[in-house]
Amino acid sequence: MAMRFLLFAQVKDAVGAAGLDLQISGSPDAAELWRTLIAAEPKLAAFQSSTRLARNGEYADAKTIFSDNDEVALIPPVSGG
């Protein structure tokens, strides 16, 4: 199944796109999603330690399980206000 990832700020600039569509199998957790992301776009490795994943508008944690209907976003350190 294909999953859509939304990219913002530094991550968006590094990849050069606002979104990525990647093939995902099963019910991955955050660690598995990162492996898939970095395999497809090696530049993302540099952002893994500072970037959080969000699932449907909520920050994900290590136990979060993702499915193909989710909207997944990569949230680099924020700087609003």
Partner: protein, 550 residues
């Protein structure tokens, strides 16, 4: 607690909390977070924000709901602006109505802290500040002007728009400290100080007519002529009723409270006159009418043209502080280039860029050194060392040719070898796209694309901007005018600076075939700014243009 959250790209204009809590609301706390003019130590004119809006709203709401348990309030309104936000304008507004100030302040402070940790909103770029913003920076909303602050970004932006290139150049060109020169050598220089009048001008009342000075309220019919005053005379005397003094235009009046009756309005008989027509005008230039002592007459940045120098002479300011003459090193490259007084062999061309650049630079009062470099990079470096062309002794370095990416195009490595950091190496414009811009401290360098028309175009929007700003003046501005005839373009995906002739207020586009077109260049005194992807423009269409007539 009522919560209102808005993420918008529209300006935030003084939102007012107008809720009906007048009885119970003891505190209204409002906070506006504004864009400051410094970001990471650099002067900026705007910031650009982006947001993952649905999640950002969701996060803000959750934060506020959890904080409301600790600090219960009545109403919270949050507005976060995104997109390009100019300095001084509000990026975030938070308004809170509470029963007491304690909860309102606590909620406000904690919310702002949490926002900066968890709400997915980002500053994604800063617009560097040009001290003298070009006039056409009006399209502030265009994100193309924003210098992206990408993580781990290289300093070399691959492709700049015209606006972005001008803004970037402006940000790196600071005025040099002024020097005092005799005003007779100051023509064309830029003033580095504010000049004020040191005395009233005129220093006394003067007549603006040939005629007769009488007391202002004297209604006598005939007057005795007591004296005659010429322009250079200074003969104070108190006039009495029935007395007149013959005065010439420009003559200093003998006392105050006079009027001058034009000689056409009197009939003279010997030493007396009779006024035959009276009018209201005093025909007097008052003391200090043009300038009072202490008033500023010329501001920093004023170009000392003929009129300004006449003004300096008038007030006796003969040693003005002006910009120093800029020292420019112009290096030309290319083995196919021969001197204009030689006959070219097949494959050779005469050097037209040297005289072109020298002539353009002389309009800016620059001291120019020109040197031709061999095409081999190592030999070129040796030439620079041999002739001791220390770039640190020049304010501006220009390198002609070699700006593309061919084997022999060594401008980029040459500039780096000379200690310049490359800021951009291409501009999305024609002609003149392969323009390189580098900086080394207060010094700037340009790698100019090889042919004369590209040189001309790049000089007027890029080099002239740097020269003007290093001199403390204002950058050349695009003006608005009308096309004299239809302009047919081949719908270029890049913006074009199109050669044209301005005559009698209308702009006549000139035909040009390639960026090497010098016959067209000889007639060009204006560059038209033709938008990208513009197939044609009708006669009479309005268009931005850059004067290029020096």
């Amino acid at each position: 607690m009522k919560i209102e959250i808005q993420i918008t790209s529209a300006p935030i204009t003084a939102p007012k909390l107008t809720e009906e809590f007048s009885g119970s609301a003891g505190a209204v706390a409002e906070f506006s977070g504004n864009v400051r003019d410094l970001e990471n130590g650099q002067k900026i004119s705007a910031l650009e924000y982006d947001a993952y809006s649905p999640m950002a709203e969701n996060q803000m709401r959750q934060i506020l709901e959890s904080l409301a348990e600790k600090h219960p309030c009545l109403v919270v309104r949050v507005i976060h602006r995104i997109g390009v936000i100019p300095v001084g304008e509000t990026a975030i507004y938070v308004g809170i109505i509470g029963k007491h100030r304690g909860e309102a302040f606590a909620l406000l402070a904690e919310f702002m802290n949490r926002l900066k940790q968890d709400v997915p909103i980002w500053k994604i770029g800063a617009r560097l500040c040009a001290e003298h913003q070009p006039q056409h920076s009006k399209n502030l909303q265009g994100s193309s002007n924003i210098l992206r602050a990408a993580a781990g970004s290289s300093t070399t932006a691959a492709l700049s728009s015209l606006d972005e290139a001008i803004t970037t150049i402006s940000a790196h060109c600071q005025p040099l400290p002024g020097v005092r020169v005799n005003f007779s050598e100051a023509a064309g220089r830029v003033l580095s100080e504010t000049v004020c009048a040191t005395e009233d001008f005129p220093a006394c009342e003067r007549s603006t007519r040939d005629g007769f000075a009488i007391l202002r309220d004297d209604i006598s019919e005939t007057f005795s002529i007591m004296d005659t005053l010429h322009a250079a005379d200074w003969k104070p005397r108190q006039l009495k009723l029935g007395e007149a003094v013959r005065v010439a235009t420009g003559a200093s009046l003998p006392c105050e409270n006079l009027r001058v009756v034009m000689q056409e309005n009197v009939e003279r008989t010997g030493d007396s006159i009779e006024i035959v027509r009276r009018d209201e005008s005093l025909n007097i230039r008052q003391r200090g009418e043009e300038m009072r002592v202490g008033t500023m007459v010329l501001a920093t940045g004023a170009k000392l043209n003929a009129g300004a120098l006449a003004l300096l002479a008038t007030i006796g300011h003969t040693q003005p502080l002006v910009n120093p003459k800029l020292r420019v090193l112009h290096l030309t490259t290319g083995d196919e280039i021969i001197s204009p007084d030689q006959k070219p062999q097949p494959g050779q061309i005469r050097d037209s860029n040297s005289i072109l650049i020298r002539t353009l630079l002389e309009q800016f009062q620059c001291d120019v050194i020109q040197k031709h470099l061999p095409e081999d990079f190592d030999e070129a470096k040796r030439t620079i060392e041999t002739f001791n062309l220390q770039p640190s002794t020049f304010n501006l370095l220009l390198v002609s040719g070699g700006a593309s990416v061919g084997d022999k195009d060594f401008t980029h490595p040459l500039l780096e070898w000379l200690g310049f950091e490359i800021i951009f190496n291409r501009v999305n414009i024609r002609p003149g796209a392969p323009l390189i811009f580098g900086v080394a401290g207060p010094r700037v360098a340009f790698g100019l694309p090889g042919n004369p028309l590209s040189h001309f175009v790049v000089f007027h929007f890029a080099v002239a901007t740097a020269l003007a700003l290093l001199s403390g003046g204002t950058a050349p501005k695009f003006l608005r005018g009308k096309l004299a005839s239809k302009l047919d373009d081949a719908s270029c995906p890049r913006e074009t600076l199109w050669p044209a002739q301005a005559e009698g207020g209308a702009l006549q586009p000139l035909p040009w075939a390639s960026s090497g077109d010098v016959t067209c260049l000889a007639m060009t005194n204006t560059l038209l700014r033709v938008p990208a992807n513009c197939a044609s423009l009708a006669a009479g269409a309005e268009i931005d243009f850059l004067p290029a007539d020096f």
